[in-house]
């Protein structure tokens, strides 16, 4: 076991991916010499060369579009979009080109492009640096969407998705980049993934068992949900926390299993509640657990407003109190 930050865990995971396959490339704005604005690619260009760790021109559509071309030539680009709010210039390349290439070629083409996006708020940033665009991508058939939540998960999952044959949107909880946790050496040295011993990255995992209600979260709100479960435990309430991980495909099996036991579900994400992941989860779980549910599925998330100015974000982001408020509502039924 070694204690590492989530950013360092991703850096190690990328290093393992670059070592494992000479076709793997890392490309994006400032990923080379600078090591990325969050230092996630720190040192990679020095060790793997500027042909494999590429400082691209500053154009997101160009980054994703050329990554598609590189993939068509047999490469495996791992693209960094510098901030969530900067992914939109690449939207056509992601949803019309990357997502559909396999389908329209009847499976003849492979475009194994991984698009890393630091997402979510909580870092006091200026506008366009704190967004949660996951629903756009999960809504798009042909893309896989996965969010990591902690250092071990991040290091494992980035290595796994770099080996797949499908395009992946890989969401990184930017306000958790500096969170440190112990990571197993088999994760850090790449052997767990190399030997196929890591669990499917799209499967949800129960990160804290409980009996009174289920909290479903992903990315940055997994920590929030765990903190809420700690606080609830002090009040004698036992909350189960499910880290969804995969947003497309969504692991309903694990979630339905949890809700069938706890009979109450609260979904927590930073993205606006309206038409967010929680809306799909609430509908899907209600369809499957109608007779098990003691209360309507509760959703905790952002408001139907643009992401607010930094001095207001603590009121916008779901926090422990907002989660516990929703738990109260669920338990009051």
């Amino acid at each position: 076991m070694t204690a590492v930050s989530l950013a360092k865990a991703l850096n190690t995971g990328l290093r393992r991916a670059l070592e494992a396959d000479p076709k793997v490339l890392v490309m994006g704005e400032d990923v080379g010499r600078l090591g990325g604005v969050f230092r996630v690619t720190d040192g990679l260009q020095k060790d793997f060369g500027d042909d494999r760790v590429i400082d691209t021109p500053l154009a997101e559509s160009g980054i994703v579009g050329t990554a598609i071309g590189l993939a068509l030539r047999g490469y495996r680009p791992i693209v960094e979009i510098q901030f969530d709010g900067f992914v939109y210039p690449a939207f056509d390349q992601l949803v019309s080109q990357l997502a559909k290439m396999t389908y329209r070629s009847a499976g003849l083409l492979r475009v194994p492009v991984v698009v890393r996006i630091p997402f979510g708020g909580g870092i006091g940033a200026v506008e366009h640096h704190s967004e949660s665009p996951e629903a756009y991508f999960a809504h798009t058939a042909g893309l896989r969407v996965v969010a990591c939540a902690d250092p071990a998960d991040a290091c494992t999952t980035i290595q796994q998705v770099a080996r797949g044959d499908d395009p992946v949107i890989f969401l990184e909880p930017k306000r958790r980049y500096w969170d440190r946790a112990d990571v197993d050496d088999a994760v850090l040295d790449g052997s767990l993934v190399r030997e196929g011993r890591a669990p499917d990255p799209y499967l949800a995992r129960i990160v804290r068992p409980g009996t009174d209600a289920t909290l479903a979260a992903y990315g940055p709100t997994v920590r929030t949900a765990l903190d809420a479960a700690d606080a609830a435990a002090a009040d004698g309430r036992s909350l189960e926390v499910v880290d969804l991980r995969g947003l497309s495909p969504l692991d309903l099996h694990t979630l339905v299993g949890s809700v069938t036991r706890t009979r109450r579900l609260v979904v927590v994400h930073e993205a606006p509640v309206f038409l967010g992941m929680g809306a799909e989860i609430a509908a899907a779980v209600t369809e499957r657990c109608f007779y098990h549910l003691e209360a309507p599925v509760q959703r905790v998330g952002g408001f139907h407003t643009p992401y607010p100015a930094a001095r207001l974000e603590e009121h916008y982001l779901p926090d422990v109190d907002r989660v516990l408020d929703a738990v109260d509502r669920a338990l009051a039924f």
């Binding site: 042909d51 691209t56 021109p57 154009a59 559509s61 160009g62 994703v64 579009g65 050329t66 990554a67 598609i68 071309g69 590189l70 993939a71 068509l72 030539r73 047999g74 490469y75 210039p89 056509d92 390349q93 019309s96 080109q97 396999t102 389908y103 329209r104 070629s105 009847a106 499976g107 003849l108 083409l109 492979r110 058939a141 042909g142 896989r144 797949g164 044959d165 499908d166 799209y202 497309s248 495909p249 969504l250 692991d251 309903l252």
Partner: protein, 373 residues
């Protein structure tokens, strides 16, 4: 004509006049010997016939849509015939002549426009990417592919069987898209082995080039740091010569080139379009005098290398092609409904699998005679 000023005031490379006379401009070689020119003529005629036939099939309701290449045969055949086998092309949705030269069965194109499938030929087999509908998006793919060619060490080795280039097709309308400018930026910075081949066919559906650009398109290349050249897009010999030189340059590792093939879309934008709303009969007739096939025929007849038997043979071949396409398109079965769910991803995806399972169960609930196929 709106384009006359641009056409006459800008240098434009031409090797074969509309009258079928050979020109000898400095620095541009006539690369097609008599055999190659006969083969090129055959391509031009067959491509035009498949295009005319497809338009007719759309009018008969056999295709949902067709995007005619009429008038652009020389730009497409001349550029595609300049490619080495290992070169890779990225087409728009109108590059039927390119697809033909890369050995794609035209029936594949018709499947796409009929809607039986995505029209997927094997891009690796033909070294031709699939058609791209969103304007300009493929130009970035071509550039990325060329960056991959560089990383494969398939540039500048001097081995003619190894060095490869990429040919990116787009049009005058696409030149306004950000993706095309971004592709120029990336290719310029990387010195990527890509040739940007712009068919300026004078129309983005209805809108003329002066609504897309303040200066002639080929001159835009200078701002991105690589050469640009305008060629008579209706002169297959000149297009072949200019594109060959640009591809050679790319394969040698000397970087991108922008080729503007100055041509004219004689047909509609697509079979859904009505060009009489935005251009006159006189405009079209003026370009008919610059027909890309007629000038080759005149040259062949004059030089004696295209005897009547050869010309009649090509016509007979075109008739046979049209007949085959008619029969085969009409015989194309609709795909099974479950094909909706095929190839969304390479690895299984729970949501797609669930949708498929639901649909199959739903279908199975009908009486057999009610099931649509």
């Amino acid at each position: 004509m709106t384009d006359d000023h641009a056409a006459t005031s800008e240098p434009m490379i031409q090797l074969l006049t509309p009258e079928g006379e050979r020109l000898r401009p400095d620095g541009h070689d006539w690369l097609l010997d008599d055999d190659a020119l006969r083969a090129t003529y055959r391509d031009l005629v067959l491509v035009r016939r498949l295009d005319v036939e497809a338009t007719a099939l759309q009018r008969q309701g056999e295709l949902g849509l067709w995007a005619p290449l009429l008038g652009q045969e020389a730009a497409q055949v001349g550029s595609a015939r300049a490619m080495a086998p290992q070169d890779h092309a990225f087409p728009t949705y109108r590059e039927h002549g390119v697809a033909w030269c890369r050995g794609v069965d035209p029936l594949r194109l018709l499947r796409l426009f009929r809607g039986t499938d995505g029209g997927a030929w094997d891009p690796a087999e033909h070294h031709l990417h699939l058609y791209t509908i969103v304007i300009g998006a493929q130009v970035l793919h071509a550039t990325g592919y060329a960056m991959g060619v560089q990383r494969d060490g398939a540039v500048g080795t001097g081995d003619p069987a190894r060095d490869a280039a990429v040919l990116a097709y787009f049009g005058d309308g696409a030149s306004s898209q950000g993706d095309v400018s971004e592709a120029f930026v990336f290719a310029g910075v990387a010195n990527a082995p890509v040739v940007f081949f712009c068919q300026n066919n004078q129309f983005a559906i209805s809108v003329p080039p002066e609504r897309q650009t303040r200066l002639p398109l080929y001159r835009r290349a200078a701002g991105f740091g690589f050469p640009g050249v305008r060629v008579d897009g209706n002169d297959v010999v000149a297009v072949h010569s200019v594109t060959s030189a640009a591809l050679d340059r790319a394969r040698r590792g000397e970087g991108p080139t922008l080729v503007e093939a100055y041509t004219y879309r004689m047909g509609a934008h697509t079979t859904s379009d009505d060009p009489t709303r935005y251009r006159t009969h006189a405009d079209v007739e003026q370009w008919r005098e610059r027909d890309p096939i007629l000038r080759v025929r005149r040259y062949l007849e004059r030089s004696g290398s295209g005897d009547p038997a050869f010309l009649a043979g090509v016509e007979a071949e075109a008739d046979a092609l049209a007949e085959r396409l008619r029969a085969e398109v009409r015989a194309l079965p609709d795909p099974p409904p479950s094909a909706i769910f095929d190839h969304v991803h390479h690895a299984p995806h729970a949501q797609v699998d669930a949708d498929r399972a639901w649909f199959e169960q739903y279908q199975a609930g009908f009486e057999p005679e009610e099931v649509r196929r």
